[in-house]
Symmetry: C2
Subunit: 191 residues, 2 copies
């Protein structure tokens, strides 16, 4: 069955949008956010400058859209790990480890870009989503007796997220794994 005209248009738009986001992220990561122009982005995405402006008014809005997509991708990745087989404790470990690796990669952004991206309201929203997500995993793990029950899960969530933010300054994957192991040790039921 041939595709409907609307679907084709929609697909085309999404492809252009994705190309713009990828191109911009690559250019910004190579040259820094101040050195990139809309013309370069249009050229790198294989579209005209006028077309680019139909999608995005400026580089800032492209970077915001890119960041929103990144965050959504990370949350999907974590949700997938949560839904795998295993005890609540095992799934918690898988989620926290992946979260720590994300923190480690993220740190490459640099201060200026990071400040720009975090101006968007989507970040606060995603952080809240993440907190609820980790907290519900912790609640399950407490019920399974794999996590201590003498501290409320929302406090344990804050502990995990702060401790794992330290992954941002670690350079090896092995160090990130050790940080996750130490953080998880803090969560174990007290002897």
């Amino acid at each position: 069955m041939p595709k409907l005209w609307n679907e084709t248009i929609e697909e085309h738009r999404r492809a252009v949008r994705d190309a713009v986001l990828e191109t911009t992220a690559a250019l910004v990561s190579e040259h820094g956010v101040r050195a990139v122009t809309m013309s370069q982005i249009a050229e790198g995405s294989g579209i005209g400058r006028a077309t680019l402006y139909k999608y995005f008014p400026d580089i800032e809005s492209i970077m915001m859209a890119w960041h929103e997509r990144q965050i959504a991708g990370h949350l999907d990745q974590l949700a997938e790990l949560r839904d795998r087989a295993g005890t609540p404790g095992e799934r918690l470990q898988a989620v926290l480890e992946t979260y720590a690796f994300i923190q480690q990669q993220r740190h490459g952004h640099g201060g200026e870009l990071s400040a720009l991206l975090h101006r968007g309201g989507h970040v606060a929203h995603a952080e809240q989503h993440l907190r609820h997500f980790i907290q519900s995993l912790l609640v399950e793990a407490v019920q399974a007796g794999e996590v201590r029950d003498d501290v409320a899960p929302d406090e344990l969530t804050g502990y995990c997220l702060h401790a794992l933010a330290g992954a941002g300054s670690l350079s090896s994957k092995a160090a990130v794994r050790r940080l996750v192991a130490v953080t998880l040790a803090g969560l174990r039921p007290s002897r």
Copy 2:
């Protein structure tokens, strides 16, 4: 024996300086850093405006000096706890708990003031000092068998400082103590 003239001058200068720092900190905490003027500070400190300018060129430099003094006071407080009696693990606990309470209070600063204060080079310097300080306590506690030896002390230091930074969003002292207990549990020798 009467005091030497120089000593008296020095004491007087220190008293004026202290009065200026206290007054400014109180005014800024009440009205916000943008709403305070040098005239108000001079008046509140009981000196003339011209005299104030002999001590400090602007409010920013007063706040920097105040912050340096605060940080030095905190580091002294932690050093005193380290030098008390007890096993390395007990002293580590006392230091980390006090550090967490400092983080909790500090959070009241607010974003604008915090950004201003952290522009000063003294903060990076103090942070490095603090890292060395905590790390040397951890080394002692590892040697005493009270802290795990399967993760390097500098990595454990990063873990402690990040985890305890979470105290900034806790509202009760009891919650801070629980955070310290969880963080310390992560440090214990693995079973």
